[in-house]
């Protein structure tokens, strides 16, 4: 399996770059945020490959988990006040 | 107490505050203050330990393992001092922001404590990554603390700050990890050794890694092109917090850059200097057109940080003076900025003139001016000593170009700061008066007292290290500052004290002076005392008059007593500042006082550069004696001469740098004008005397510098007098006449022969006497008639006879008509030019002689003779106390006229040691030179006898003369009905204006106006750089990174 590793990393990196580009140029905000979450998830897998489990766990839990949620929370807040005429 | 307790207490209190409920806000506030006091106490105790024992710094380990493998903190003298500054700023800021903190609750207090703790962390930690963590802490805390301000644009400012910080932290992280990879350790000292070990040829990895780290930390210092975000912070944040932001976080970031520079080694120093000097000059320039006070303070603090960064960049040549200089500038900047920001909280309006509200509180005005003085590096403060050493070391290393930039920036900064002070003192006070609760006054008082205390400390340091005199301990300055405390006394008490003090000081020290200095001492002290007599006429307390006057006199007497260049320069700046405050007291004197201070400081900086250049040429002795100017060698000597001469000539208002004099002398108060015009100009002359005495003739590129001075003197004499003719305002006329007379004296000096100097000295004496007299008499008339416009006066001879007599005697003396002392000056002048080699400039002096007579006649004709106006019919004589000094001067003039030898005999002998040939010999009452002799007594008798004979003859014939009033005459066969129509005064010398008007076009004023406009437009163009958009600020930052990189790689 170890000889497969370089190919796996390359594939992973390409996926990450594509996700990053989507996050930047993405049309709507939710898609961008999801793409960022994906980047973070793929990054945690990459960390595993680079033999650092601690970082992988942190990245997974905080990086993709909490950050993405924070974004959606704020996006929700902005969206909701947008369509009902915004806060007083 | 271990330094780590700062962190423990800081965090402990922060977390504890989390426990307290909503209701115990005041308890939380008390806790915050207690914590901050404790942290200051810890660093204070360390400071005392290090200052007392002088032990060198030691490391504190964490996690029980040696540094490269764990984080260590270093506590030394510098760290203790810096942390103390940070903690105290934090404590006072907390005190100052009390209401805001209480409004926002414990969380804000916790954020503040953690911010201060993190700043101490930055100073103490020796680990790179730890530095990164503390920087991030600061970023978050600053963004949080910005919310304290009630200004709603603070949010946008905070967001911009976060955007740029994201960029900075990304670069810093990449830099750190690659540096770790290259050196194998995260400890700064470890990294420094490893970096030294890496051979620079491998310029790749480590150099770029270090570059990224360096540029990120320098970006924290808000360098010029990339600091839009910082300015918004300064403008929008709560002033209490802005004080912390500029003083404390600036200090911490600077020390972080210093630590980084240890790693980078010497070839990164020029980069730091480059960024620093660009920031210093750029920020100062941009501060010029600012109207918002906090944004101006923002620019000024960025500029000062830039200056200190430049000093950091030059640390390789400073050796062990490095901390003295950097520390002096840093502490002066921190205290001054904190003080000013806290003051800005008291003032409601945000534009500069709104600060006029402070006028009602003299103590706050004193606080403001101490902070401004600290920033612009004026004598008693630490930045003055630092600036002196900085100049000397820079020039010693041949980096005078850098010094020129620094001095230019400092001049611009002094310009806009004193302009602001002018607004504060002179502008109309806005409606809402300032409310200053105790908890906001205490921090300001602390900052100001800290400044003065540090001034004393730096004085002690400079006297122990460099053998300079500690300024605060010199008797004259001490005497002047005591008047600050006595300012609540009534004016006449202070006046008596002042006169007594000056006369006593003179009687104590007159034996020490050689004849030349004796004359100047007599004029400064005894002359000053006589002029002060006129100040008895003012009643009430005259807040601020006596400290300023005494400061000026102290500066002048210290100038004479100074034997080394430092004492001389300090005295020079003291008298400049003292006279500035005096001039500023006039009703409409604000713009003129500003041009005066800017020109004088420009001149002072030239003198500083001159002394630095001179000191660099002479083998480095602790103090550079003035006499050593004599043995300067060729390549340096003419430049030193040029710089010093220019500096002194700004003070004697030679043509080209004279535009400040008319306004300053005319707009000053009645009794200030004689002081400033009669006495202060002599300080410039004394400087020139010292310069020429020591350096004699110098030539630069084949041009004889003294010959150039000869021409400048001649042109000044001619144009000064010519401009005086066309003035409508009496005091302006006398001011221009001072320029003319100074031109005469400069001419005499530049003749470089025995009689030339004697003439100049004769001038010094004469000019003091009659100029003070004329200014006093005109002042007295102006006080009575309420106006200075000559065409509004007229016919006052009957109402104010004593003033008339004084002015008449003054006129005869000034124009050089035989019986009086003026003729003596002319006689020596003739003998001098007969022996002098250069002849062409004489033509201008010949012409300016009669012209002097013209404007004097205009003065006496339009004021005392001619028609008396109706509204002046019931005027009384000028107040007694203004007349008395005039009568003393009249008597003095008579004495000097009849017995000039009494004064000049010793001086003649003294000058002969410089110019042996051409000495006069005095025996009895006749004075003979190689061309002829002059017997003042005989002339006086002959003229007197002829005069009395004819007067008796006329009296005899006109025994029954019928007295007729002024108005009773026939004019083209009619009796005039209005006195105004027949008083010929307006545009008195119209024909002269038609004939010679072209000479008097204000070329010089237009030139200087063009210079200032250039600076302002340049600043306005570059100001558009900051368009308020956070993203553009990010662009600026990246551009800055790339630019510095190409600059570094290019070098």
């Amino acid at each position: 399996m170890s000889h497969l590793l370089p190919w796996l990393t390359i594939l992973l990196c390409i996926a990450m770059l594509v996700a990053a580009i989507i996050a930047i140029r993405g049309l709507s905000s939710p898609i961008a945020i999801l793409a960022a979450g994906l980047v973070s998830l793929l990054a945690s897998v990459l960390f595993l490959i680079l033999a650092s489990p601690d970082v992988a766990m942190t990245e997974a839990a905080i990086g993709s988990g909490l950050t993405t949620f924070l974004f959606f929370f704020i996006l929700g807040r902005v969206r909701s006040s947008e369509n009902d005429g915004g806060p007083a | 107490m271990n330094a780590l307790t700062i962190f423990a207490i800081g965090l402990g209190t922060a977390f504890l505050l989390g426990l307290l409920g909503e209701r115990q806000k005041s308890l939380g506030y008390m806790l915050t203050l207690a914590a901050l006091t404790f942290m200051s106490a810890v660093s204070a105790s360390w400071l005392v330990v290090f200052a007392a024992t002088g032990a060198d710094s030691f490391d504190i380990f964490t996690a029980g393992t040696a540094p490269p493998f764990a984080i260590n903190l270093r506590m030394g003298l510098i760290e203790a001092a810096l942390t103390l500054l940070i903690n105290l700023t934090g404590l006072f800021a907390a005190m100052h922001m009390g209401d805001a903190l209480l409004r926002l609750g414990q969380r804000a207090m916790a954020v503040l404590i953690i911010a201060i703790m993190a700043l101490c962390g930055i100073v103490l930690t020796r680990d790179i990554f730890n530095l990164f963590v503390f920087f991030e802490l600061i970023v978050i805390a600053t963004a949080g603390l910005v919310l304290l301000s009630d200004d709603d644009s603070a949010l946008a400012a905070g967001f911009k700050y976060l955007i740029v910080s994201q960029f900075i932290s990304a670069l810093l992280l990449v830099g750190i990890i690659f540096a770790y990879h290259a050196t194998g350790t995260l400890n700064i000292d470890g990294m420094a050794e490893a970096a030294a070990a890496i051979d620079p040829s491998v310029s790749g990895a480590f150099a770029i890694a270090f570059f990224l780290m360096f540029i990120a930390v320098v970006a924290e210092l808000k360098p010029f092109p990339a600091n839009g975000w910082a300015l918004d912070m300064y403008e929008a944040a709560h002033p209490g917090f802005s004080a912390v932001f500029s003083a404390a976080s600036g200090t911490a970031a600077l020390y972080a850059v210093d630590k980084l520079l240890q790693i980078g080694g010497t070839d990164w120093l020029p980069v730091a200097t480059g960024i620093g000097i660009v920031t210093f000059v750029g920020a100062n320039l941009l501060a010029l057109p600012q109207t918002n006070d906090r944004r101006l303070l923002g620019y000024s603090s960025i500029a000062q940080t830039g200056l200190i960064l430049t000093v950091l960049g030059q640390q390789d040549i400073f050796g062990d003076d490095y901390f003295f200089i950097a520390g002096g500038l840093l502490f002066a900047h921190a205290l001054a900025k904190a003080g000013l920001y806290w003051l800005s909280a008291l003032v409601a309006g945000r534009t500069l003139p709104d600060w006029a509200a402070l006028q009602s509180r003299p103590l706050l005005v004193f606080a403001f001016i101490s902070c401004v003085a600290m920033l612009s590096g004026l004598p008693p403060f630490p930045s003055f000593y630092a600036k002196w050493e900085l100049a000397h070391l820079l020039v010693a290393e041949g980096r005078s170009g850098l010094l020129a930039l620094i001095l230019f920036g400092a001049l611009v900064e002094a310009g806009y700061l004193f302009r602001w002070f002018g607004y504060l003192i002179k502008r109309a006070t806005p409606a809402e008066s300032i409310a200053c609760p105790a908890h906001q006054l205490l921090p300001i008082a602390a900052a100001v007292l800290g400044g003065w205390a540090l001034g004393f400390v730096w004085g002690e340091l400079s006297s122990s290290y460099f053998g300079r005199t500690n300024l605060l301990l010199t008797l004259p300055l001490f005497f002047a500052l005591t008047f600050l405390l006595l300012d609540w006394l009534p004016a006449w008490v202070k006046n008596t004290l002042a006169i007594g003090g000056m006369v006593a000081f003179f009687s104590l020290t007159y034996a020490e002076y050689d004849p030349l200095r004796l004359i100047f001492a007599v004029i400064f002290l005894i002359g000053g005392a006589v002029t002060l007599l006129a100040s008895y006429h003012a009643h009430g307390r005259r807040i601020g008059f006596y400290p300023a006057a005494m400061l000026m006199y102290a500066g002048m007497i210290m100038l004479i007593r100074a034997s080394d260049s430092f004492g001389f320069f300090a005295a020079w700046e003291l008298l400049t500042v003292g006279s500035y405050f005096l001039i500023l007291r006039g009703k409409h004197s604000e713009p003129h006082a500003l041009s005066y201070i800017v020109f004088s400081l420009g001149g002072a900086f030239l003198i500083l550069a001159g002394f630095a250049l001179a000191a660099s040429a002479v083998p480095p002795a602790p103090t550079f004696e003035i006499a050593q100017l004599a043995d300067l060698v060729q390549p340096v000597a003419p430049w030193v001469f040029l710089l010093l001469a220019l500096g002194f000539m700004t003070k004697t208002a030679a043509i080209g740098v004279h535009i400040w004099l008319p306004g300053a002398h005319a707009e000053a108060e009645t009794d200030v004008s004689p002081m400033v015009s009669g006495i202060l100009l002599k300080a410039g002359l004394y400087g020139l005397f010292v310069l020429l005495m020591n350096m004699g003739k110098q030539s630069l590129y084949g041009v004889e510098l003294t010959y150039v001075m000869l021409w400048i003197g001649a042109i000044t004499a001619l144009l000064g007098n010519l401009m005086a003719i066309f003035q409508e305002d009496a005091k302006r006329l006398l001011a221009y006449s001072s320029i003319g007379q100074m031109g005469y004296a400069l001419f005499g000096l530049a003749l470089m022969n025995h009689l030339g100097w004697l003439m100049a000295l004769m001038f010094v004496i004469n000019h003091y006497i009659y100029k003070s007299m004329l200014f006093l008499s005109v002042g007295g008339v102006a006080k009575r008639t309420g106006t200075r416009e000559m065409f509004k006066m007229g016919g006052l001879i009957t109402l104010m006879p004593l003033s008339f007599i004084a002015t008449l005697i003054g006129i005869i003396a000034v124009s050089g008509v035989p019986p009086l002392s003026g003729f003596g000056g002319r006689w020596i002048f003739y003998n001098a030019i007969l022996t002098a080699d250069a002849r062409l400039p004489m033509v201008l002096i010949f012409l300016s002689g009669p012209i002097a007579f013209l404007y004097l006649f205009r003065l006496i004709h339009t004021i005392f003779l001619g028609q008396l106006k109706d509204e002046h019919r019931r005027l009384k004589e000028a107040p007694f106390w203004i007349i008395l000094p005039q009568m003393i001067y009249v008597a003095l003039l008579m004495v000097v006229a009849v017995v000039p030898g009494m004064v000049l005999r010793h001086v003649d002998a003294y000058i002969s040691q410089f110019f042996p040939d051409g000495a006069l010999n005095w025996e009895g009452s006749t004075i003979t030179s190689q061309f002829g002799y002059w017997n003042p007594v005989a002339i006086m008798i002959i003229v007197g006898v002829i005069f009395m004979l004819l007067f008796g003859w006329l009296l005899f014939v006109n025994r029954r003369a019928q007295k007729v009033k002024q108005f009773n005459f026939v004019f083209s066969a009619e009796r005039p009905f209005r006195p105004e129509t027949t008083h010929f005064a307006w545009n008195f010398f119209a024909p002269y204006r038609k004939a010679m008007g072209f000479l008097v076009q204000p070329f010089v004023t237009r030139f200087w106006a063009a210079v200032t406009d250039l600076l302002h437009t340049a600043a306005d163009i570059t100001r558009r750089l900051y368009n308020g958009n956070g993203q553009t600020y990010a662009f600026h930052f990246l551009l800055f990174v790339v630019a510095v990189f190409t600059f570094r790689m290019g070098m």
């Binding site: - | 001879i797 008449l808 005869i812 008509v817 035989p818 019986p819 002319r826 006689w827 003739y830 003998n831 030019i833 007969l834 002849r839 062409l840 004489m842 033509v843 010949f846 002689g849 009669p850 007579f853 013209l854 006649f857 006496i860 004709h861 003779l865 001619g866 028609q867 006749t926 061309f931 002829g932 002799y933 002059w934 017997n935 005989a938 002959i942 002829i946 005069f947 004819l950 007067f951 006329l954 014939v957 006109n958 029954r960 003369a961 019928q962 007295k963 007729v964 009033k965 002024q966 005459f969 004019f971 027949t982 008083h983 010929f984 005064a985 010398f989 024909p991 002269y992 038609k994 004939a995």
Partner: protein, 301 residues
């Protein structure tokens, strides 16, 4: 200068001679001017009549102290100027009170009279007086410049500031006069001489029609008499200086009278020919013509 008392009566004698000579000469010059204009002109003794009339007037008014002192200043200026310069070279009697450094004293003593006159006239409050003073001061100040330059170049030439020494240096016959040894200086001086003699080209100061006799408008009776005597003494005294400096001085009275008359004729002669200059024209005229000559004379000597 040891002050011996015998000089006082001799000084009075000199003043007496010069006053009488002045009265006669000015009347004569005016008569010549009239004859040129084909008029009969005034009798020679006219000046004496005016004097007697003025002193005889019973009514005399004064506008105040300075007005009173104006004529006194004026006359003492004229007499002083005369006495400080040796009239007759070589004779102890008529070397008056001159002493070594009197050249500069003479140069500046001219202003003493002008200052006094100006102050006195200004006190009178009459606008004509004031306008006259402005014109007089402006014109005289510019006129003095070439004269000062000439004097300076002469002093440089003879390396002395004493008039007697200068005259002594010129005693070697006609050719040793400064006129020939230093022509530039003399020409500058003579041009400036015109300016200070209040003769037609430069008499805008007392412009008879515009501002009736300028400064002394308000003066009459004994004050005017004093001024009249000065109007006589002052030109002679000034000419004495010119004579001593530039034309070899006078060794005897007849030579003195002849030279003074001729120099006075020079200003009268020019006066008759040229129209009156305005003040700025005269200033510019001096600047363009007289001053360059003076500067050249300094550079050349």
């Amino acid at each position: 200068m040891d002050f011996d008392w015998m000089k006082i009566p001799y000084a009075f004698l000199t003043v007496f001679i010069v006053v009488n000579y002045g009265f006669l000469m000015t009347a004569l010059i005016q008569k010549i001017g009239a004859r040129v204009g084909r008029r009969y002109g005034i009798p020679i003794w006219q000046n004496y009549l005016d004097m007697i009339k003025n002193y005889g007037l019973r009514s005399s008014i004064t506008h105040g102290a300075m007005f009173y002192l104006g004529p006194v200043f004026r006359l003492s200026g004229g007499v002083g100027l005369l006495l400080f310069v040796p009239s007759i070279y070589g004779s102890y009697m008529f070397s008056n009170l001159s002493f070594a450094g009197d050249l500069i004293l003479a140069l500046y003593f001219v202003f003493f009279g002008t200052l006094g006159m100006a102050l006195g006239a200004a006190e009178s409050g009459h606008p004509h007086a004031a306008i006259g003073i402005t014109r007089g001061l402006s014109q005289v100040s510019m006129a003095e410049l070439p004269f000062g330059l000439a004097v300076f170049s002469v002093a440089l030439q003879y390396q002395t500031l004493s008039v007697t020494d200068i005259v002594a240096a010129q005693q070697g016959g006609m050719l040793t006069w400064t006129l020939f040894t230093n022509p530039l200086a003399v020409s500058a001086a003579m041009l400036s001489f015109l300016g200070s003699m209040m003769r037609p080209p430069f008499d805008v100061v007392i412009a008879p029609q515009e501002i009736p006799i300028g400064p002394p408008t308000e003066y009459h009776s004994s004050y005017l008499a004093l001024m009249q005597t000065n109007r006589v003494i002052f030109p002679v005294a000034k000419i004495v200086i010119y004579m001593n400096l530039f034309f070899g001085g006078a060794t005897s009275w007849p030579e003195f009278f002849l030279k003074v008359f001729l120099i006075y004729m020079w200003s009268a002669f020019v006066g008759v020919v040229f129209p009156r200059f305005r003040v700025e024209q005269s200033i510019r005229w001096f600047l363009v013509w007289a001053v360059p000559l003076g500067v050249l004379s300094i550079m050349v000597v």
